[in-house]
């Protein structure tokens, strides 16, 4: 088992005819992901290395049974693409695009929530990897192998970093989920932790957070009440000076809340071990799963 993507994933890429979209879609396919279609308005009927391209998601669903979308279109058009995927009934929408206007994200998120038929991952995220089964997004899969550690992270590169350290210590992964660092993530820590709790393959959950917002604090509450599996957390930004914005819209330290120390304290209060560096996270994982690894 794994979460969100696996052998049953039928992927459609929006923006497949762009250079990045094409590069990563083919990489995903090389990994073994079942890529069934691409969508580029006006390029319907073309092919990208054997993958049929359609004008609309509706056609990709109708003709190819696509159930998962990867959105690679530029920021001004990305929310529209997400909404189109939702309208076409795509169950899982993974939005890689960075730089989508916050109000666009808000409307897309609110619509997805209202209709209740799709799940959104991202935007501004690296995607999902279920090692040995499927890879959707830009996670460099070569570093990861199947195993029992589920990873969920707000930051893309940190996801790789932590996964890599774990891999060097001999751990494999059930799934690695990058939820993205934007103000309105379609799926947050609580959602992902819930899925890992329910996934029989996952025996340890690693949660990689960062300064800003209160998603880590909410996850701590949820873990205390609903999660029986061990959880290890990492919070980036201990050394960040207050009041500075550092890239992710999320990474804003505002007053007393949202700081790394506060997040770490909230998690530790609920029994979650928190590492100060990616390396420490791996050490904690060994402590908790030593026998199992």
């Amino acid at each position: 088992m794994s979460i969100l993507i696996d052998e049953n994933t039928r992927l459609v890429t929006a923006g497949i005819t762009g250079s990045e979209g094409k590069f990563h879609t083919l990489r995903n396919r090389d990994y073994g992901t079942n890529v069934v279609a691409g969508v580029t308005p006006g390029k319907g009927g073309q092919e990208v290395e054997g993958i049929p391209v359609f004008n609309t998601y509706a056609e990709a669903v109708e003709k190819q049974g696509a159930n998962t979308a990867m959105v690679f279109v530029p920021p001004p058009f990305a929310a529209d693409s997400i909404l189109e995927a939702e309208d076409a009934g795509i169950e899982l929408i993974i939005a890689i695009t960075e730089g989508i206007p916050a109000h666009d994200e808000l409307r897309a998120y609110a619509t997805i929530k209202k209709n209740g038929r799709s799940r959104l991952i991202g935007p501004n995220c690296p995607g999902i990897l279920s090692p040995g089964k499927a890879n959707v997004g830009i996670i460099p899969a070569a570093f990861f192998k199947p195993g029992n550690v589920g990873v969920v992270s707000r930051s893309g590169t940190l996801t790789y970093q932590i996964g890599n350290v774990l891999a060097q210590e001999g751990f494999g992964n059930s799934s690695i989920v990058g939820i993205g660092g934007d103000p309105v993530p379609g799926t947050d820590f609580v959602d992902a932790v819930k899925l890992f709790q329910e996934d029989p393959q996952t025996e340890l959950i690693v949660l990689s957070g960062e300064i800003g917002g209160d998603a880590e604090e909410k996850a701590a509450e949820y873990i205390a009440e609903h999660v029986t599996k061990p959880v290890v957390a990492y919070i980036a930004g201990f050394s960040a000076p207050p009041g500075k914005t550092m890239g992710h819209a999320g990474a804003i330290v505002s007053g007393s809340s949202g700081g790394a120390e506060g997040k770490a304290a909230a998690l530790e209060a609920k029994g979650v071990k928190v590492g100060k560096t990616p390396t420490q996270v791996a050490e904690l994982a060994i402590q908790l799963l030593g026998a199992a690894a």
């Binding site: 808000l106 609110a110 209202k114 690296p126 460099p140 893309g156 790789y160 201990f238 890239g247």
Partner: protein, 385 residues
């Protein structure tokens, strides 16, 4: 992007939010001319983004041209908590009967806009929130439905505003919400909203943060500038599309992805060093972006060593290596570089670097190792400098 008071008020005026009449000025002459046009008394207000400007001498009342000249001269060029005053806002003085607080913020936690209203305006709202949380009325707005008249009434009644201004306060909140949505802000805050002796309401201050990601469809907003807040390196980075924040240390940092860069700062700190900057080269960085980033980092004279920490996903390590090689060719840096490359095309990247035999460049296999190395090198450089 955070707007200056006057930029926010000009946005407000375009959306019908009642604001005092005013004009911006960059010289004493402009300030006096503005004051003459508006009519005395006027407030001469320093345009810097610092709370409590007034107490720090950044706001003064002028009753005539002489006073206007004197205050404008004193405030222009003044240093307020590290920011230099380049611009003034001259505005007609308001008579104040009551001071309220109003804001619309992007509440990440609830994934909805949050509107707040309090009758405890004109003071530090964070202190109010801590000491008397019930004094602030809160309301989340369904982003698909938008702000309704009843939201305004509910906030006004719950905050306990004077009965005769329930309607105008509700209308003001709706207008602020319109600014928030139409201008794609992530924060719209007014402290204070005043009630005048004639029982009108007015926004006496304006704090607006716009979403930079929306600028492609808000050309006018994209042109707004805050000269006082612009650090030369930060401006340089911005022009090149890099996310750069200047910090106090001496170790230049470049990474890809905000999370990884923050983590790098933490690891450097734990290794005993201090970062000179935060620089996220972003996802999918091409060689030119890397070259450009090196220029920005080295433009800070405090930098005595540089750490590259790359874990490639969408970013390809070979592109990073190429960018670094070009940068060395063009800039010929005098400080040591520690480079850690992992992820997509890392082998090609490392191979390119090895072949280029760049002087004073050290490669490390792990993030912890790279941090230890750069702290060591930075210390040596500092000593030798």
């Amino acid at each position: 992007m955070d707007l200056l008071e006057y930029q926010g008020k000009q946005l407000f005026a375009r959306h019908g939010v009642p604001v005092p009449s005013g004009k911006p000025a960059r010289t004493v002459e402009e300030a006096v001319a503005a004051a003459e046009e508006i009519g005395y008394p006027v407030a001469v207000k320093a345009q810097v983004q610092i709370g409590g400007r007034g107490k720090l001498g950044g706001i003064k009342l002028a009753n005539n041209a002489e006073e206007a000249r004197e205050h404008a001269g004193a405030i222009l060029g003044m240093d307020i908590r590290g920011l230099t005053v380049y611009e003034l806002w001259i505005e007609g003085a308001s008579q104040i009967e009551s001071e309220y607080y109003a804001s619309v913020v992007f509440d990440r936690s609830n994934k909805a806009p949050l509107v707040m209203l309090s009758t405890k305006g004109g003071m530090d709202i964070e202190a109010v929130a801590e000491e008397d949380p019930d004094a602030i009325a809160h309301l989340h707005v369904d982003p698909l439905l938008g702000f309704q008249d009843f939201h305004g009434r509910e906030l006004a009644f719950n905050a306990g505003v004077a009965p005769d201004v329930v309607r105008p306060i509700g209308a003001l909140l709706k207008q602020l919400y319109n600014v928030f949505v139409d201008e794609e802000a992530t924060l719209v805050e007014v402290n204070p909203v005043i009630v005048t002796p004639e029982r009108g309401v007015r926004a006496l201050d304006a704090k607006v943060t716009l979403d930079n990601n929306s600028f492609f469809r808000h050309k006018d907003n994209a042109e707004l500038r805050d000269l006082s807040a612009e650090d030369p390196q930060e401006r340089m980075a911005k022009e090149r599309g890099l996310t750069y924040v200047k910090l106090d240390g001496n170790i230049g940092i470049l990474g890809n992805g905000a999370g990884l860069v923050m983590s790098t700062l933490d690891v450097v700190k734990l290794a005993g060093g201090d970062a000179a900057n935060f620089l996220d080269a972003g996802g999918g960085s091409k060689a030119e972006a890397i070259t450009s980033a090196v220029e920005v980092i080295l433009a800070n004279p405090n930098v005595t060593a540089v750490l590259f920490n790359i874990f490639g996903g969408i970013t390809r390590c070979d592109e990073v290596a190429r960018g670094l090689i070009t940068a060395f060719d063009q800039i010929k840096p005098s400080v040591p570089f520690v480079v850690r490359l992992d992820g997509t095309n890392d082998e090609e990247g490392r191979k390119l670097l090895a072949e280029a035999k760049l002087p004073n460049v050290y490669t490390e296999a792990t993030m912890d190792g790279a941090a230890a190395k750069v702290v060591e090198l930075a210390g040596q450089s500092k000593t030798s400098a």
